[in-house]
C-alpha cells in the first residue's frame, strides 16, 4: 500500500468521526431533524450513513463526468471513491452531502473551501461542480447498497473482556482513576459511546473536530506577567494560547518560560503498557458504566 494510504486508513476514521459528529448535531427544538439520528454511540465505521433528504436523479453521464473531476480535484484528500482519504473525510457518510440538494450545500463548500479544516477553495466552473455533485450522490447511493462493508467492526466483536478485571486495572496499574471517575466524568459513558468508538476513545480520546487541544499552558513573560490559557499552537520556536478572554496570543518560545499540561499525555504513555487483555478488560468495565 502506498505511504499516504498508510495515513488514509487512520484519517478515514477521523473523517468518519467528523461525519458522525455532524450527524449528531441536535435539531433545534420543535423542528424535525434534517437527518435521521444514527443509532447512538455506534462505532463510526459501523455507523449508519445519514440518509439523503431529497431524492435526486442525475444522468449516468453527469455522474461519469464528475468522476475524473472528483479524482483530480478532491481525490487527494477524500479518496478517489469519495469514501475518505489521506486528509479528508468519507463524503458518503457526510451529513452535508446527505442534506445537499443539487449542490446547494456542496457547491458553496467547494467554492469557498473550509480553511479552518485545511480544505482549500476550488476554482471550478458551475458545470464541473454540478458533475461532482452528481458523482457524490451516485457514490453515496453506491456505498449504501454495499452492505457489510469489509472494514466494519461490530460492538459484538469486542466483548472478550472481564469487567471486574477491568475495574481493578482502572483503579490500579492503569492509573485511569487518577483523572477519571465512574460516577463523575465517566457516568453513563456506556450510554454515550459504544463499540469501536468507545474503544478508540478509551485508548486515546483525540479532540473532536473543531474542539482544539485539551492542553493548557502557563506562560511567564519577561515582564513577570503570567498568562494561562488553552494551548493554541506550539512548535520549537513559538508558543500560543487563547487566554481567559478567548484572545489569541503568541510569543517566541525563547523569550518566555512556559509549562504545558496535556491531560492526553497519560493516554499516550499508557499505550506501551497495556496488554491486549487489559484493553479488553477496561473496555468491558466501561461498558458497565450506565446512568
Amino acid at each position: 500500500m502506498t505511504a499516504s494510504l498508510g495515513l488514509l486508513r487512520k484519517l478515514s476514521l477521523a473523517g468518519a468521526l467528523v461525519a458522525a459528529s455532524c450527524a449528531h448535531t441536535p435539531a433545534a427544538p420543535g423542528t424535525a431533524p434534517t437527518s435521521p439520528q444514527p443509532p447512538r454511540g455506534s462505532s463510526p465505521a459501523a455507523e449508519a450513513r445519514p440518509r439523503t433528504v431529497a431524492t435526486q436523479t442525475y444522468s449516468a453521464q453527469q455522474a461519469q463526468a464528475g468522476e475524473p473531476l472528483f479524482a483530480a480535484h478532491c481525490g487527494f484528500c477524500h479518496g478517489r471513491d469519495a469514501m475518505g482519504g489521506e486528509t479528508g473525510p468519507d463524503l458518503t457518510r457526510s451529513a452535508l452531502v446527505a442534506e445537499d440538494v443539487r449542490g446547494d450545500k456542496i457547491g458553496p463548500v467547494v467554492h469557498n473551501g473550509r480553511p479552518e479544516k485545511g480544505m482549500p477553495p476550488l476554482n471550478l466552473s458551475t458545470g464541473d461542480v454540478a458533475a461532482i455533485v452528481a458523482f457524490l450522490h451516485a457514490q453515496k447511493t453506491k456505498a449504501e447498497s454495499n452492505q457489510g462493508s469489509r472494514r466494519s467492526v461490530e460492538e459484538g466483536d469486542l466483548q472478550t473482556g472481564d469487567a471486574e478485571a477491568g475495574r481493578r486495572y482502572f483503579e490500579g496499574p492503569g492509573g485511569c482513576s487518577k483523572c477519571h471517575a465512574p460516577s463523575g466524568d465517566l457516568a453513563g459513558v456506556a450510554d454515550r459511546l459504544k463499540g469501536l468508538e468507545l474503544l478508540q476513545r478509551m485508548l486515546y480520546p483525540s479532540p473532536r473536530s473543531g474542539a482544539g487541544s485539551p492542553a493548557t499552558a502557563t506562560v511567564t513573560l519577561k515582564s513577570g506577567e503570567i498568562v494561562k490559557g488553552r494551548l493554541a499552537y506550539r512548535d520549537e520556536f513559538t508558543i500560543a494560547v487563547r487566554d481567559g478572554s478567548g484572545t489569541y496570543r503568541s510569543w517566541p518560545a525563547s523569550e518566555v518560560t512556559f509549562t504545558v499540561d496535556n491531560p492526553l499525555d497519560a493516554h499516550a504513555a499508557q499505550l506501551a503498557k497495556y496488554t491486549d487483555e487489559d484493553v479488553h478488560n477496561v473496555l468491558a468495565y466501561l461498558q458497565t458504566l450506565h446512568k
Binding site: 502506498t2 486508513r9 468522476e67 475524473p68 481525490g75 469489509r150 469501536l196
Partner: protein
Amino acid sequence: MCTRQLVPLATGLVAALGAFAFVLQPVAQSRQGVDAEMLQQPPAESWPTYHGDYTGRRHSPLTEITPANVHQLTLAWAFQTGQAQPIKASPIFANGIVYLTMPDNAWAVDARTGRQVWKYSYPVNTGFHIGHRGAAVYKDFVYLTTPDAHLVALDAKDGKVRWNVVIADAKKGYWSSNAPLLVRNHLLVGVSGDFDNLPGMLKSIDPETGSTQWTFYSTPPPGTPGSPSGGATGGQMWMTGTYDPQLNLVYVGTGNPTPVLNGPVRPGDNPWTCSIVALDADTGTLAWGFQVSPHDTHDWDASEVPVLVDGAFEGTPRKLLLQASRNGYYFVLDRTTGKALLTTPFAAVNWASGIDKDGRPTPNPAKEPARDGRLVAPNESGGTNYRSPSFDPATGLLIVSAHDGYGTYFFKPEHGAYGWAGADHNVWGKGVLRAIEYQTGKIRWEHELGGEGAAGVLTTASGLTVTGDAAVNVLALRTSDGKTLWHSAIGRVGNGPIAYTLDGRQYIVVGGGGALYAFALPRGPS
C-alpha cells in the same frame, strides 16, 4: 572532477573544488546532460534523480552553506504551483532547470529564478491522485508516471508529449506515483494498488521508445502454477530503488501482501512481499531477496529507501545496504549476498516475538489482526514511511524520519479475502527525527518534531541536516547532535529537500505546502 562519490577532506580543497566546478559547469550542462554515464557519478552541483544519486543516501557534497553560516539563509525564489494539494515529490535539478511533479502535473522551473519554463498537465482521469514522488530526466526526456498507471515521456525543452505508454491496468486497481529510476538503458517504473488483489510488478522500459524490456513480479503473475507466495498477491514496488553499478544490481523495497489484513488465507511468509529484492538491472532476474516482515498483516510495506553505503562493519570494509523499515526495525544487509548483519528496532514496536536466525523479526501471532482487535505498534503509518532518510558519511549516521505510533487491528472471516480485508484504526502517534549509528543501530540523538508528521531528510558534507517538523517549519540542524540552527515557516514540508549549485551559489530547495522554496546565502547588491 567534483563528484558525489568524493568526500571533501579539507576546507581549502573544498574551495578549490568549488571554483573548479564553477568553471566546468556550463560544459556539464550543455554537453554532458543527464545520461547513463553521468548518472554513475553525478557532478556535486547536480541533483539529477529522485535520490540525487544511485546510493539513496540523499547526501549532497556541497559545502558553501555550513552550520556556521546557515542562520543567514535567505529566500532566493519561490514557485507557486497553484495547486490545492501539498508537494509530496522530491524535485530534481538538471540542465539549469528544476523539475517538479504532482499527480497529473509536471513543471520545469528556471533554477535561477523560480520562473516557470513550461507546465504539462495530463488529461483528466479517474486514477488515484494520492500523491506523486517525482520525475526522471534522461537526455532530452522528462518522464512522469500518472494516477492511471501510464508513463508519459515529455520533451525536456517544452513539455510536449513524445510518447505515452500503459504500465499497468488502472481498471484493475493499479495506479502510479513513482519517480522512475534510470539505470543504463533501462527506465524502471513501479506501480501501486492494494485495494485489490494484484500481482506486484516492476517494469523496465526502454527510455527512448517506451517499449517494455522486462517485468519483475514480486508475487506471481496471473496463470502461474502453484503459489510460491503462499497465495498472496501485492508486494508493489511504488518507491524508487537504488543501484550498485559494480554489481549491476538494482535494490527495491516491496510493499505489503494482499489481502492486507487477512493473514490466514495466505499462509507462510508470502515472499517477496515486504522485502528488499536485488535484481539484475539488465534482465530483472532476482539475485536475492530478504524479507523484513515475513507474513505481514499490518500494511508495513518495505518500500523505504534501501540506502547503499560502502563502509566498515565490525572492522571489515563491506558493501552494505541500510533500511529503516516501516515495521519499526533497522536492517543492515550485505548487499552482495543479501545476508542480514544487524536487525534492531528504531521506533516503538510490539509485534515481534524475536529475531530469527536469518535476521528477520518473527511475527507474534497474538499481534495479528483479530476479531476483538489488537493494539499494535507501529500503526499503519509505520515506524517510518516514504519520506527519504539521509546518510551522512562523516558521522556514520542514518537520519530517519521516525514515528512512534499505536493502532488497533481487526480481522474476522466476514471481512473476506479481497483488498483490505480487515480494519485498522490509528490510536496515537508522533514524529521524531532519529540519528541511527549505522554499524550498531544505536540512536545517537533524536529531535522531537512536535506531533504527527515529518518530512524527508537531506544531509550535506558541511555537517547540515535539512528536514521539516510536524508544524510548518523547514529546519536546518547540526548533523553531529541534532541541534536546530535555522528554520523558516514555509508550510508543511513533504518529501526530502535537495541541494544544487548554480552560478557558484548553493541552493537548498524544499516544498512547503503547495509551493517550492529555494534558499541560499545572501548576495551583496549588484
